[in-house]
Amino acid sequence: MRQITDIVAEMRGIVKQFPGVLANDQVDFELQRGEIHALLGENGAGKSTLVNILTGLYRQDLGSIRVNGQDVNLSSPGDAISVGIGMVHQHFMLVPSQTVTENILIGLDQPRFRMNLQQYERDVSELGQRFGLKVDPRAKIWQLSVGEQQRVEILKILYRGAQILILDEPTAVLAPQEIDQLFETLRSMVEDGKSVVFISHKLHEVMEISDRITILRKGKVTAAGLQTSDISQPELAKLMVGRDVEFTVEKQAQVPGETVLEVDNVYAENDKRLPALQGISFVVQSGEILGLAGVAGNGQRELAQVLSGLRKCIDGSVKLNGKIISNTPIKNAINKGVAYIPEDRTHVGSAPNLSVTDNVIMKNYRRPPIAKGWVIDADAATSFAEGLKDSYEIIVPTVETPVRLLSGGNLQRVILAREFSGEPVLIVAVQPTRGLDVGAIEGVHRLLLSQRDAGAAILLISEELEELFALSDRIAVIFEGQLMGEMKDGDVDIIGLMMTGTPLDQIEPQGMESNV
């Protein structure tokens, strides 16, 4: 047991009012030396507001902050770093064309004029070694993987002498192995006497890494500084959403119907023209969910794009109900009933400044009743949007609201409403619950299952094994653009082996039935 009397940061009675919403309502938060303190809560619970106040980005309306026993007045991130508080944002703030060392030195007073980079490079790699943050100080940022970029962000803060590190959803962008590495780094930092605020809504990660947990709901603290060892995951979920959450979705047994999607020996390249898919073949039948597991970057994105027509395949074919849809215009796949839920809601799935109406007609504006000849029937579009707003419970003042003002869960509902309203025969869903809170995830799962029961063929691409196990009828695993195998009942160990590159037929049978 660590010494837990030493309080390094203390926030008392924090109130922050935004127009129309009380983001923080008398929030108390306490961080001790050498602990990993998880800040847990649904989207919009006030986690980000709280840490933005702690890092000087926002100013509290009421309340006080003490760091190391001293009252502090934080009015900029510079103020925060000067008292030893640093934050790694979800979206990295790095200059892609510069090296790791250069990025770490940005904005500092040293070096003053002459860049004695070699010396600083040595400092950076020493610092990295100390905390298990392995990264080449001379590499340019664009050459690094997302996980390595995150290490640079952490190094940046450590280099500035931070004693308190705030990480905003650090695992959202990482592969499982990278998450393990990150956790080791965090542990070595707290052993060094630093303190970590870990923001997340992934319960199992919070259980694994944190020493204590503070939970926020609707701007209020529902549990302060709980010992992680004293609480269970379902209890946490209840404190977070205020009601019991079903972790296993009710799933009816379903007899798969005819083959809808036939992927035959598909090869495709990624954006850098390197091979991304290397001979992928599988089928999805009507009324079933095929889950595709794999570490991010093994060709999932490219596969989804090939299926929806956004990417050409260089060999092989994709057939929908017996007709080839690969390498045809995107419109063709849309008209044939392919729904695609892209991974990137804001940059691909929606047009942020356009209204909810304009966003939900993206796929059917060419057809009546929305289209009347070359004109769009504004009344028909509005009533279509109103209908979806009600049936998919999109919470928005009017359908004329620009979607950039919607929360992640609501935006995802807009996208699902659009994609599902066309009664799709095939649904390609990529990470449909990424970044959503527990309540919203449940809603998305229900919608996917109802589409399955309505007879759609669904390919669910996800990095969340729990989600795949809960929803899929079969699970296939992709590794470096190839399928490692496919099984009916999920066995975490076997899937784990396949995710790291061992084909199913090379895995020793362990007395269990597997389906290739």
């Binding site: 027509g309 849309i334 691909v348 799935g349 929606s350 304009d358 289209a371």
Partner: protein, 379 residues
């Protein structure tokens, strides 16, 4: 950075409050944008007044003079409208391209080529001088839209097929357009060795208000011409296309998020070409209106007078709204006209500049709010 601070931390200040600019969390209400623009214009007139007073003028008399010079009587109002007409069309041209985030800064060249197309109909001649205006003028309009549209097609095609930056190509094509008409003015259609073409036959003139002075004496001397109606008609058409048509929906979707548009199955390359053609055709129509309604011949200086560039500014100030473009164009027409009346003429250009800077700067208030904090509160 989601917030900026105007004061540096840790410094004691004698002023008992601090000003901070905070990012707006909530959208400001819809009328806020118009209010801010209005305040910005008042503010810039105030600033301009200070400058006028500083150089020894009387700001109130100067403004009164400017107002009289552009809106004082029906005659000058008509002249203001004549100045505004080409700007309406070039600004509309820019607005459709900007809507799709195509940075067409070649409205000037497309305007000139439109004027050339209209002139060609008269001077080749495609139609004999005694043709009825009912045929003559529509033919000139179509010809000008084709030549202007061609001047938009070239950068559009290069952008769509070869990813050539349209800012460079549209800018360069402006100079080619000027060189092109100079060749015709100096060599082919030169009127007695002067760098002007011959005057058009009156059948090729756009009807002006003064043409009806016989029936309605009030209209005597008023030079407002058909171009204004063409401009307003074009504004209505552009509004309808952008906000009501399938094509306009595609343009708005591409402009807001190109990747989402691709995902919706929209052909970006095709739309790039089509929008550039429409943009060029609208600017070309402006050129037709100017040679057919005002100059009545092709001549470099009054035709290539920078209307295409003014159109860029007007399109932005009007926030790409077609109807706002008509109003802002009239304001700019008034300032151009007043510039001829008052001395030094630089005053109106200065006011134009201050209005522009204020309006652009006022956009900041759409995204940020200003709050005062008492220093005492923070201690």
């Amino acid at each position: 950075m989601s917030e900026i601070s105007s004061t540096s931390p840790g410094r004691k200040s004698v002023i008992p409050f601090r000003i901070r600019m905070e990012k707006r969390i909530k959208e400001p209400p819809p009328w806020f944008s118009s209010l801010i623009s209005f305040i910005a214009i008042i503010f810039s007139l105030f600033l301009g007044g200070i400058v006028i007073a500083f150089v020894g003028g009387d700001p109130f008399r100067s403004y009164a003079h400017i107002a009289r010079a552009s809106f004082g009587n029906i005659g000058v109002i008509s002249d203001t409208i004549v100045k505004a007409t080409p700007i309406i069309l070039t600004a509309l041209a820019c607005s459709v391209a900007f809507r799709m985030r195509l940075w067409n800064i070649g409205a000037e060249g497309q305007f000139i080529m439109g004027a050339f197309g209209a002139t060609a109909v008269v001077l080749i001649p495609l139609l004999p001088a005694e043709t009825s205006p009912w045929i003559f003028i529509p033919t000139m309009m179509v010809a000008g839209m084709i030549t202007g549209g061609l001047w938009g097609f070239i950068p559009g095609y290069l952008k769509a097929k070869l990813q050539v930056n349209e800012i460079i190509t549209t800018l360069m094509l402006n100079y080619i357009a000027i060189a092109w008409i100079n060749f015709f003015i100096f060599a082919v259609w030169s009127e007695g060795g002067f760098p002007i073409t011959m005057k058009f036959p009156t059948t090729a003139w756009m009807p002006r208000l003064l043409d009806y002075a016989d029936q309605l004496p009030v209209l005597r001397g008023l030079t407002s011409h058909l171009g204004l109606l063409i401009g307003i008609g074009a504004a209505v058409v552009v509004w309808y296309i952008i906000y009501r048509s399938r094509w306009g929906y595609e343009i708005r979707l591409i402009g807001d998020n190109q990747r989402a548009a691709e995902y919706a199955g929209i052909n970006i390359a095709r739309n790039t070409i089509l929008v550039m053609i429409l943009s060029g055709a609208l600017a070309g129509l402006g050129g037709v209106s100017e040679v057919g309604g005002v100059v009545h011949r092709l001549q470099t200086s009054p035709v290539a007078a920078g209307y295409g560039f003014t159109g860029i500014i007007v399109a932005w100030l009007a926030k790409l709204n077609p109807f706002a473009i008509v109003l802002v164009s009239i304001l700019f027409g008034a300032l151009i006209l007043a510039g001829r009346e008052i001395q030094p003429s630089g005053i109106t250009r200065m006011i134009q500049g201050i209005i522009l800077v204020s309006l652009i700067a006022s956009d900041f208030l759409m995204r940020y709010q200003i709050r005062l904090y008492r220093t005492a509160e923070e201690a």
